[in-house]
């Protein structure tokens, strides 16, 4: 069974701190994604990566960066955390398969609170 592991379930940080959210998948998936989930706004894509050292901006990349140095690991970085980045962050992965893409496998999420 595919496992996507996010390093922290809950995180509390102060405004201005640099924050690292880590995600590891164990199924050799090419694609990895970072979403944020907010009530009433659904899931919004922050960044995704389809290969090591490759990344593409999603719909809301401002204030975030990512790093993918190894295939299994995808890190989300909040350069200077702000209170509007308080949210649930979801990591997901999938195979690169076909034209339309296979289902995503999600981690349990990291609930980040910025005070």
């Amino acid at each position: 069974d595919v496992k996507v592991t996010q390093s922290s379930r809950y995180l509390v940080k102060r405004t201005g701190e640099k924050v690292f959210l880590e995600c590891v998948q164990d199924m050799d998936h090419e694609n990895m994604f970072w979403y944020r989930q907010d009530p009433g706004l659904g899931l919004r894509l922050i960044y995704f990566s389809y290969d090591v050292k490759m990344k593409e901006k999603g719909d809301i990349p401002e204030g975030y960066s990512v790093s993918r140095e190894k295939k299994e690991r995808f890190s989300l970085i909040l350069e200077s955390a702000s209170t509007n980045q308080t949210s649930m962050y979801l990591c997901a992965s999938s195979f690169l398969q076909g034209v339309l893409g296979p289902p995503l496998h999600f981690g349990n999420g990291t609930r980040l609170t910025v005070t």
């Binding site: 694609n31 899931l43 593409e56 339309l100 289902p103 999600f106």
Partner: protein, 117 residues
Amino acid sequence: AQSVSQHNHHVILSEAASLELGCNYSYGGTVNLFWYVQYPGQHLQLLLKYFSGDPLVKGIKGFEAEFIKSKFSFNLRKPSVQWSDTAEYFCAVNTPINAGNNRKLIWGLGTSLAVNP
């Protein structure tokens, strides 16, 4: 712009009631369609998917969905819900713009289902 619309934001049902959650999308070409479920405190997981073939697809836990191309719809159904079906349900549509990397997976805003015992 492409979009996915889930008509009901909050649904409350009693156990044994039938469920239908609406999902409509705006893209006119070939699509992959998904329903994901998020049980309280758990990760999002795939409930069912449609790629091609029989438009009536069966998923886990007795759920099914019907793809009606002419209506751009992919409604989720279950004949008799249980308390354990209490969860948030998300419809998602993938289009070929991204050539296989899920870049353009478009999500609905979700429907929160509460089933009373």
